[in-house]
Amino acid sequence: MIPAAFEYYRPKDMAGVLSILEEHGDDARVMAGGHSLIPMMKLRMADVPHLIDLQDVGGMSDIAVTADSIRIGAMVTQHDIIDHDGLASAAPILREAALQIADPQVRYMGTVGGNVANGDPGNDMPGLMQCLDAAFTVVGAEGERDIPARDFYEAAYMTAREDEEVLTAVMIPAPQGGYAYEKQKRKIGDYATAAAAVQIVKDGGSCVSASIAMTNLSDTPIYSEDAGAALVGTSVDDAAIKAAIAAMLGDIDPTEDNRGPVAFKKHVAGVILRRAIERAWSRA
């Protein structure tokens, strides 16, 4: 568990970060909390000759909540999310999900930016951000651009962010209605066997909109548009939930691992989604 030798950089501003990225291309990686990247480097599964620590860059640790949107800086930690009362009332699903990530020690270090940018299908925030229809702000030599979370993930560890770009913030439209983040895991600190993020808006006993995303059931997070659509216009009764589950199962593509075989994962995905929908609906 000893990484290969690497150069360590700690630039004071984003221009410094970008110039190092420019110079070294995919030989350089930025690091926020380091809780995914450092283990990969120690296992020598990630070769990072040039490591850029973002701790001193500044300007990426704020949480801004307005009436219609939320902006979370990339360096905001999972702990900050849990600790922020304004965020908890504007988007309670964030706290519910963050509390299910790893353990307190990890949450003090692990950041939202790192969690969404790394592209690890096991991470919880990517699916959650797809559910919330968030957009990720990335900055590069050409300036800033926003990428919708639902378009961001291409394959495991492959995202729409270019090697020379840095993810600086997450923008979330203010969530409406009921919510739930439901996760099954083997133990504290584990990735999900299956997890579901659900946000539902109810109007007079019927569902007017529903957003559903699943975690760790494919090589990317899965936003299941059809699953959400299956609930819209219904009273979220058993038939509607079954239809949503069926739609979701058509979108995921789990693989067998130590958590279990594919049939088990699909079954649990359905159970977890049902529970998430029921809880979100009860809160809507």
């Binding site: 290969a4 099954q184 504290i188 600190g189 130590n258 279990g260 079954h267 649990v268 159970v271």
Partner: protein, 809 residues
């Protein structure tokens, strides 16, 4: 003097002797980060060694090119089998009578096997050096299934086949196949077959006790320092048996034993993992001799999980017979034991399957037969006793599952079936069908207390209601009631039948009383977290009448401690604890003579009273042990040598047999396989209780490791022999979050042959806990036709059970 005014009660309390929940004296150090573990040992000029390990489970080594590695900055040497061969150290003996490659000699037999040892100025350079060593492998057919191994033409151990193709006997007799290691039998074969053939009821079951790993928090490691000037080798390491390591190092290296000093510093958990000898020890010693500098080797977590001693991996097939009323008449057990690439089990020499022949459990079973076949496969070697005496967890799991299966066969309550078959109190000492003489027990009392405490009848009624609700669609949760009654066999052991590599399994204690009435005692054992510095001082306090707080306990340095066989198999209290009491009694005998002289009476006219000798019938006339200690050194006493010291080597007359009754209540989510342990009750009878608080801590720890093993902890391999669970992401180590609240309880049935009646407790909760957790899972599904499913009961396997029983339809 204060002593004179204190009441007897105060004087007893002041000693903090046996029976008192004295706080652990170790903890001040450990909780402040002041422990001294092997990786804390830092010596001038110390080098660091680490291994190139095989990525393949079975491969021939075509070549090893070390040239590039030697050019890496900071790398000083790369050792391969070729370098060790002239020293005769490319192979080493195992504790099981086999031999094991230190560095790959022509081939590798398991993934992670040590291929070359890179010695560098620091661990970073060593890691870079490892990357630069080029090894060319030719992959061979991999065998990870012991049953296939016994039929395969593939020869795993070519060194164990004669040139004419014949199979020389192994360490434990004839071998049936080139991948077979031994057959070991206990009991009477024909009578057992006959009883079972003619029985009214027979239950059969096959079960796999999966491979797992002790996973101590501190991994294995050592620092070897050869002083070429005085010819002395000092070896610090994570050794559960430092004296045995010294002897083994002497035997294989040729260095005289007096020139070897082995030191076990603080050890961060052992659980059996640190009993054996590993290639890292040998390579560090050789590297230190070659370079003339100290060499450190420390495993990382993956090294530890993938290559150092595993536990279990027993395929057990049982048949149990009974009358229609449930009285057990016979038991037959066959085990196919997967030992991996080398037989490196840590068992007493005459017991290649450990004490598996305790598998008749707590029951009066008149006829029994056990047969164990050891088999080579392409997995890591080991087979240690993970928090249990030798293979006792396997044995207890086997019988506690067979009882449950028999209860199903008889359509009987499993608690009642146990009760009618328990060995009765008046039958002790009881000779079991497979040979052991159980020293003492009162099983019925313990069982009744346990059942009453948890309201067993009430639980069964609740469970029946739950089944009805489930069938009516009112709930998706089932309730399991796990029962387990275990008898351990610990304290190895009597030298007449217990040795390891010819080293008798006695243990020892040496006591020196200082003139001012404090003391130091040294033992042949070594604590790895058990709290020896606390509890052994308590034994001595009660025996010699000096406060435990005035007694230093020291272990682990072979230059100072008396010879002993170390700490594992819950042997410290039964063996070294007995030696401690006996040495204490020698001190007391001499103190009595001194007291009598000082009090000017005959030796027989004084008697020991808590912390002093008093003149019989005249309690106002006494000498405290403190006064006696001073006199022992500073007063000329005719006919008595100065000083107050004693040493005792204790060869136990028998093992001790702790027992206990455990009950687990569990809710199971049928749809997700998630378990929720709502209650866990553990009654332990470990004989005389030295420190109730430490016992409770031991029970909590052992139960937690039992929960781990039963519910998810495994070393799993794929068909290519790749370890699938090499990190703590996949290897289940429970945290406080996963652990339920434990209720502990006890009865006290002292060991009749142990000087203080103590039996040992560290491993009981693991031994009894594993079947209890497993039985709870299996019991939840009994109403739906489940007989047996294999551990570990992780989410997907429980889900699979429910699925196969049609509970998802």
């Amino acid at each position: 003097m204060k002593d004179e005014v204190d009441s007897r009660e105060d004087r007893v309390a002041n000693l903090k002797g046996m029976g008192c929940s004295r706080k652990r004296v170790e903890d001040a150090r450990f909780t402040q980060g002041k422990g001294n573990y092997v990786d804390d040992v830092k010596l001038d000029g110390m080098l660091f060694g680490d291994f190139v390990r095989s990525p393949y489970a079975h491969a021939r080594i075509k070549s090893i090119d070390t040239e590039a590695a030697l050019k890496v900055k900071g790398v000083l040497a790369v050792l391969t089998a070729k370098d060790l061969e002239p020293l005769g150290l490319h192979w080493m003996p195992t504790l099981a009578g086999d031999k094991q490659m230190v560095l790959a000699d022509g081939k590798v037999l398991f993934q992670g096997q040590e291929v070359a040892f890179v010695v560098a100025e620091d661990r970073y350079a060593a890691a870079d050096g490892i990357e630069a060593v080029e090894v060319e492998y030719e992959e061979l057919e991999v065998i990870v299934d012991p049953f296939k191994a016994m039929e395969s033409d593939v020869v795993l151990r070519e060194d164990l086949v004669a040139e004419d193709g014949s199979l020389p006997d192994g360490a434990h007799g004839p071998r049936k196949h080139h991948n077979h290691i031994f057959t070991w039998e206990a009991g009477d074969k024909e009578p057992t077959e006959e009883v079972i053939a003619n029985a009214e009821v027979v239950a059969e079951e096959s079960m796999y006790y999966h491979r797992t790993h002790p996973c101590p928090l501190e991994t294995c490691g050592c620092v070897a320092s050869m002083d070429k000037v005085n010819g002395k080798l000092t070896l610090w390491g994570t050794f559960q048996a430092p004296h045995a390591i010294r002897t083994v190092v002497s035997l294989i290296s040729g260095i005289e034993e007096h020139n070897i000093r082995v030191i076990s510093p603080d050890i961060g958990g052992g659980f059996g993992n640190k009993v054996g000898a590993y290639p890292g020890y040998v390579c560090s010693v050789v590297a230190s001799i070659v370079t003339g500098k100290p060499v450190k080797w420390i495993e990382d977590r993956m090294d530890n999980l993938m290559t150092t001693a595993f536990a279990r991996d027993y395929w057990m097939k049982g048949r149990i017979s009974a009358t229609k009323e449930g009285k057990i008449t016979g038991l037959h057990c066959h085990v196919t034991a997967d030992h991996g690439g080398f037989d490196a089990c840590a068992d007493p020499t005459k017991f290649p399957a450990g004490f598996m022949n305790i598998c008749t459990g707590s029951y009066d079973i008149p006829t029994a037969f056990l047969e164990v076949d050891g088999v080579y496969t392409n997995k890591a070697p080991g087979g240690v006793s993970y928090r249990c005496s030798f293979r006792v967890t396997e044995a207890v799991y086997f019988i506690e599952r067979m009882i449950e299966v028999l209860a199903i066969e008889l359509n009987m309550d499993a608690a009642e079936l146990r009760r009618i078959n328990f060995i009765k109190k008046e039958q002790f000492p009881y000779t079991a069908a497979l040979g052991w003489e159980y020293d003492s027990g009162d099983y019925h009392t313990a069982w009744d207390k346990a059942l009453k405490t948890v309201d067993y009848e009430g639980l069964r009624a609740e469970q029946a209601q739950r089944v009805e609700d489930f069938k009516a669609g009112k709930t998706r949760s089932l309730m399991g009631i796990g029962l387990s009654f275990f008898t351990e066999i610990v304290g190895a052991g009597p030298v007449k039948n217990c040795d390891i590599l010819g080293l008798g399994m006695f243990d020892s204690c040496e006591i020196r009383i200082h003139p001012t009435g404090s003391a130091i005692a040294r033992l042949g054992t070594i604590s790895q977290g058990q709290g020896h510095a606390t509890t052994f001082a308590q034994i001595l306090a009660s025996e010699i009448g000096l406060p435990a707080d005035s007694i230093t306990i020291e272990e682990g340095d072979t230059d100072t401690a008396p010879y002993g066989l170390g700490t594992y198999g819950s042997r410290s209290t039964p063996v070294a604890g007995a030696a401690t009491a006996m040495a204490g009694r020698k001190i007391r005998a001499k103190a009595q003579m001194i007291a009598a002289y000082l009090l000017e009476v005959h030796d027989d006219d004084v008697e020991f009273d808590v912390d002093r000798f008093v003149v019989k019938g005249a309690p106002e006339r006494f000498k405290t042990m403190k006064e006696i200690a001073f006199a022992a050194y500073n007063q000329a006493i005719p006919g008595i040598e100065p000083g107050l010291e004693a040493v005792s080597y204790y060869d136990p007359p028998n093992m001790t047999y702790p027992f206990g009754a455990y009950i687990c209540v569990m809710d199971i989510d049928v749809d997700t396989g998630v378990t929720d342990i709502r209650r866990f009750y553990a009654l332990d009878d470990c004989g005389t209780r030295i420190n109730p608080m430490i016992i409770e801590g031991q029970v909590h720890g052992g139960l937690t490791e039992a929960l781990a093993v039963a519910l998810g902890q495994e070393i799993a391999y794929d068909d290519m022999g790749n370890v699938k669970t090499g990190t703590l992401m996949d290897f289940f180590l429970p945290t406080a979050w996963e652990v339920p609240n434990y209720e502990t309880d006890y009865t006290v049935t002292p060991s009749p042959h142990h000087p203080i009646g103590a039996k040992g407790v560290g491993e009981s909760p693991h031994v009894g806990g594993v079947p209890c957790f497993s039985n709870a899972v299996q019991d939840a599904f009994r109403a739906f036709g489940n007989r047996h499913t294999n551990m570990p009961h992780d989410h997907w396997r429980i889900w699979k059970t429910a699925n196969e029983l049609g509970l998802h339809d």
